[in-house]
Symmetry: C2
Subunit: 332 residues, 2 copies
């Protein structure tokens, strides 16, 4: 294992220290491993918190900033943060209007964020709502999940809900919006290589030199099948077809995310997006907004995923609203 | 070789088609392989053109947009664009104020951009100035280079010079500024793995599982030495010390770029930046601005590079000016 690290045991702490040095506009609580905006949101606005295991950067800490998250809670690599960590973040960002927490559907995350909500409600009296993202169409139930896994829709949801909170929508409205977005997004991924968790020191799974994992999870969970590598135009079908089979994306404008899993060059991501876009166009899907790049990664995994979100004028308006975070930034 | 491509022969064309689909704010001339702003800069302002071999994305096409480049010319992977391609771009962006072209110091690029300048001057009568970036302190003369290689300072230069052109500085001023920036930047990189050029189908060089290449070039050119992998805190010294030994960075504010070479996760880049920042601080270097991420890559190479630019109030002001490109965006 060759990595730019000091010691597998200190990867998260060392990385958060570097994040703090790189981004003075963030405040990093190294004790609780929570990343906040250095300048908090105005009082009276709903707080937005997310988090989960580390190793998916820029998710979540890279989405802290005006127009998106107020705090991101970092667990160890591919490991849920503890309820105490999350509760600290929930209390810290509550300015009186309550907090929405955004949770990817992994058993540990769901349990720990739920306990955190109870702690924050019982202790400082913070009103907490929860939205769970479970958008991965690859498989039902997985290594760390009951139901579907939560992946790319999380990025789009954090952006849209962050905009709604920023403009002053109340907790009930923000929560209803979050649920609507969570229900309207679908994802599918594929891996060319495994990732390697620093503490494990070896690849999470073995993949022969000429095979890919179709429907892989962002922690290396098994997908639907393995098959021989194929041209990008065929790989694009493996992403587009299951997503379109699961939800009708032809009746509304769509926001698309073509996401790199960490080790795939941008040149290949652009190429894949070209193939995906052509298939979507042929299927009558109207892509009104799109982003291509590394947005929700799996350490050093090579591969990509596609996320489509069924939008409407309101979601497009919130998508277009200014955002200023390390990972997503426009109009500000 | 597992890659998200169709055919090694069509990688560039397919990728540019995907770039066009992903970024409607760009106009991609697929015939000449030049990427322009969809909405050109106002007439009377100096045009800024760059380009080179592909495989370094987001450099250069990802830096086309308001506040940075007017056009980026794409050669095949790790191969210089032709004079005809470059001349087409030079002529297209000239609104009467002339054009500055930014060239990384590789023999093929220098020759072809020079010939392009002659073609554009002799034909459409475009006034062309050239700045060459040769900032890599690793080695003198290299596989594709006489003198030093051009790397990370290119990104910082394109940003700063783009801002100057945007605010209406004339060709002489913009050129003088470009030369000053080129002389004030220094870089050093290291690789954990080789990259694989699609047309070659195998890694550019072989690196044992426990070794790194110190001073690697962005096409896999040999560096200063190979050595055993080491903790990030030691690797950081291998980047910082040769850069500081080459130019005094303690007498002025500094802009720092900690750059990923393509396959290194953001988590590791943050971690490395933390180590680099601590060393710079201890050396009395005052980092006033910094960016951390994949800005000038080498396909699927794992590793990173450090670039420092000796700035002043004027360079900081131009750095802070609004920029709106796929790869760099703020304040707009």
């Amino acid at each position: 294992m060759k990595k730019l690290i000091n010691d597998p045991a200190s990867v998260l702490a060392d990385s958060l220290r570097g994040l703090a040095a790189a981004h003075p506009e963030l405040r990093v609580d190294l004790e609780h491993r929570v990343v906040y905006r250095a300048t908090p949101k105005a009082a009276g606005k709903v707080g937005i918190v997310s988090g989960g295991g580390s190793g998916h950067e820029p998710l979540h800490a890279g989405y802290v900033g005006p127009g998106m998250l107020d705090a991101a809670v970092a667990g160890e690599v591919f490991t849920s943060p503890t309820p105490d960590q999350v509760a600290a973040a929930l209390a810290a960002v509550d300015t009186g209007a309550g907090v929405l927490q955004i949770v990817k559907n992994y058993t540990g995350d769901v349990m720990n964020f739920e306990m955190a909500a109870e702690l924050a409600t019982a202790g400082p009296g913070t009103a907490v709502e929860t939205v769970i993202v479970a958008d991965d169409v690859a498989v039902e139930d997985s290594t760390f999940t009951a139901g579907r896994r939560g992946v790319g829709t999380t990025v789009l949801l954090e952006k849209i809900v962050g905009a709604a909170a920023e403009e002053g929508q109340d907790l009930a409205s923000v929560t209803a919006l979050a649920r609507r977005v969570a229900e309207s997004g679908r994802s599918m991924g594929l891996a060319l290589t495994s990732s390697t968790v620093p503490a494990a020191g070896k690849p999470t799974f073995e993949l022969p030199e000429d095979e890919i994992e179709v429907g892989v999870g962002i922690h290396g969970e098994p997908g639907r099948k393995r098959q021989a590598t194929a041209p990008a135009s065929d790989l694009a079908k493996l992403l587009v077809e299951p997503v379109l089979a699961d939800l009708d994306f032809t009746q509304a404008p769509v926001i698309a995310l073509l996401n790199g899993l960490g080790a795939t060059p941008l040149m290949e991501l652009h190429l894949m997006y070209g193939e995906v876009a052509a298939l979507l166009d042929a299927a009558g899907v109207r892509v009104e907004r799109r982003i291509v790049g590394n947005y929700i990664t799996a350490l050093d995994m090579a591969g990509c995923s596609l996320t489509l979100l069924r939008a409407d004028d309101e979601l497009l308006r919130l998508w277009d609203a200014p955002v200023a975070t390390p990972g997503l930034r426009w109009g500000a």
